[in-house]
């Protein structure tokens, strides 16, 4: 059992709670930097995919996990980022400015959808984002000058100051560095007053407002930040898939992102990463599973979304804090080793909390 005695106020907001975490994160970063030299190129490609998913998950985690605003149309922000990025790249804009303006455009779209959010609570907002993503998807199909319509548009390889990132390895480092920078930026936001305001809004809007939190401002900011990250993820995603068509950014993608957040663990940065790992591994696991299922079920194309749905339902019912919650429970078990009480994480009995009081 580890006791952390806090002797300075800075320790409350430090990035690392104690030296052990510093050690493990250093090990992780060394492993990630060295990985391309140690593993096969295929897995390097999969790892960059993992980083892109993590970035997209991080973006939704900020919105849903920290600010408590549900977005069922996050694929729209990814799509906006991807298309703007590719459009600018085709017009000869260098990589970094193109990616940043892709993020900025997505953020602007986020503000547009966030402004009505000021007056709406959770559920209305969810519906608004759903409608927004339906509209955006239709725009992708119709606005052929920008998106190439349903034929799609090819994405060139990323170019940095004249040299092109041809192989998987260069792209791997690109994704890794974007992800790390974004995670650090978000961690910084979260430990500052912005993050605390978001968490306050998530837990009780009325209480937050009574404490002087500007609801409208912070909600819009949450949307802007989240959409910005989603735009960056979309730009990287465009390079990864190499060819953009509007049917990439369907509601299925939004649901996958929500699942990532839910399965990973709502309200934690770790959760976004865990969820991304889960989402990248799941198709492989399902492919393996098909060999063991009776042929009638195994050949069904609908099997995969079905399994997604079942996992989502079971996660909500049995492990609402996701993989991250599970991980914390396991850690806690070993900390307390002989003394673990099974009642520690027992779900409290809850009653219906109405939002409709008049």
């Amino acid at each position: 059992m580890r006791f952390i005695f806090k002797t300075r106020y800075d320790q409350d907001i430090g990035l690392f709670p104690h030296r052990g975490t510093v050690f493990w994160y250093s090990l992780l970063s060394v492993a990630l930097v060295a990985a391309p030299f140690l593993i096969a190129p295929y897995y390097v490609g999969e790892l960059s995919f993992l980083f892109i998913w993590s970035l997209a998950g991080l973006s939704l985690m900020v919105l849903a996990g920290y600010a408590g605003l549900i977005s069922i149309g996050h694929a729209a922000f990814l799509g906006i980022g991807a298309y703007v990025h590719v459009y600018l790249i085709h017009r000869g804009v260098p990589f970094l400015p193109a990616m940043l303006s892709a993020g900025a455009t997505a953020a602007a779209a986020g503000v547009v959808i966030g402004v009505p959010a000021i007056r709406m609570r959770g559920l209305y907002l969810a519906i608004a984002t759903l409608a927004f993503s339906a509209i955006v998807q239709e725009v992708f199909v119709r606005w052929e000058a920008l998106t190439g319509g349903s034929r799609g548009v090819a994405v060139p390889k990323p170019q940095f100051f004249g040299w092109s990132l041809e192989g998987e390895v260069g792209f791997y480092y690109l994704c890794l560095s974007v992800l790390v920078v974004c995670i650090l930026a978000i961690l910084n936001l979260l430990r500052a007053s912005t993050g605390r305001a978001w968490i306050a809004i998530r837990d009780s809007e009325i209480a937050a407002q009574s404490m002087g939190v500007n609801l409208a401002g912070y909600k819009t900011l949450a949307f802007a930040v989240s959409a910005f990250l989603a735009g960056l993820a979309g730009a990287l995603f465009a390079h990864k898939v190499g060819y953009l068509t509007p049917d990439i950014f369907t509601p299925i993608l939004s649901i996958q992102l929500l699942m990532l957040v839910m399965v990973g663990g709502v309200g934690s940065i770790h959760g976004a990463i865990f969820g991304a790992i889960f989402l990248v591994l799941l198709p492989t696991v399902i492919a393996l599973l098909r060999d063991y299922l009776p042929a009638g079920i195994a050949q069904q194309p609908a099997l995969e979304p079905g399994i997604y749905g079942v996992i989502l339902v079971l996660m909500v019912l049995l492990e609402p804090l996701g993989i991250n919650g599970l991980w914390r429970k396991i850690k806690f078990f070993f900390w307390q080793f002989p003394m673990y009480k099974s009642a520690t994480f027992k779900r409290q009995k809850t009653y219906m909390r109405t939002e409709r009081l008049r």
Partner: protein
């Protein structure tokens, strides 16, 4: 003018279906504050079950419809009893995720059982058309209007005069008070889900001749969301009126606006309503006071 009237009647009929679906989740929302994102999938499932009874088992249309309603009502009730009840009091995110997950499961389950191809459900009104002046009215659309009117009256009577209907109203107004008055709130909630699934089935069966049955029928859920929001999410007549409005917008935008607007016009209206008047046209959602 004739074209206008024609579109108006058809839009009214389609809107009635949207209204019924919207009514389904307004019922659920009022009763338990659960937003059922799987309502569209209940419609789809209802249509498929009716298809099984009528086409695959060769039963009489009305018998098949009645059986489908019973089966789906049981399904809805069981869904509440076994699953939804367990997340009461959890944050809204959980309920949203749960119902979305259920929608996905239902859709892929339907794809596994009935296959991906589209089916059609023959109805007794298929061939007949009526002619009033220049307007050609197909019996299918008239039957939809009539069914909605009758169903509306039945539901009105049910909520106004039957004991269980009044109990449902009480439970949706204040669960604790209802509980203290001796209303079995849990069973009433299951009843609401069963009722909502039954209404969804009727909507699905009525939608079948217009839209054919396939696993994408659940998309009607999104339109119905728009309808419910416009109607004020908590008001039953509002949901039906909102549905009719969305149905009219759908048909008219398909004809009078440029291509591509048909699918999104109703969502644009939804966003405008959310910005301008978030409580909907018949709003009953107030702000919590401290």
């Amino acid at each position: 003018m004739a074209e206008f009237l024609q579109l108006f009647v058809n839009g009214l009929a389609v809107g009635c279906i949207y209204g019924l679906v919207a009514l389904g989740f307004v019922l659920i929302y009022k009763a338990g504050e659960v937003v059922n994102f799987a309502q569209g999938e209940l419609v789809m499932l209802g249509a498929f079950v009716a298809f099984t009874f009528v086409v695959q088992f060769g039963l009489n249309y009305w018998v098949g419809l009645a059986l489908a309603i019973v089966v789906m009502a049981t399904f809805g009730g069981l869904l509440e009893m076994i699953v939804v009840r367990r997340i009461i009091g959890q944050p809204q995110f959980s309920t949203v995720m749960l119902t979305i997950g259920f929608g996905v499961v239902m859709r892929s389950g339907a794809a596994m059982v009935w296959g991906p191809e589209t089916r059609s459900l023959p109805t007794p009104f298929d061939a007949a058309t009526f002619r009033f002046g220049g307007v050609v009215l197909s019996a299918v659309y008239l039957s939809i209007l009539a069914t909605t009117a009758i169903l509306g009256l039945i539901l009105f009577g049910f909520f106004r005069f039957s004991r269980i209907g009044i109990a449902m109203q009480a439970a949706s107004q204040n669960q604790l008070a209802a509980y203290c008055m001796g209303i079995p709130v849990k069973r009433v909630l299951s009843g609401v889900w069963a009722l909502s699934a039954a209404v969804a089935t009727i909507a699905g069966v009525m939608l079948a001749p217009i839209n054919l049955i396939d696993t994408n029928l659940g998309a009607v859920g999104l339109k119905a969301f728009a309808a419910a929001v416009i109607g004020g999410f908590g008001s039953i007549p509002g949901a039906v009126l909102g549905g009719i409005l969305i149905g009219l917008i759908d048909l008219f935008s398909g004809v009078y606006l440029p291509q591509g607007f048909k699918d999104i016009a109703s969502y644009i209206v939804l966003l405008i309503v959310l910005v301008v008047r978030p409580q909907g046209l018949f709003g009953s959602v107030g702000r919590k006071k401290v």
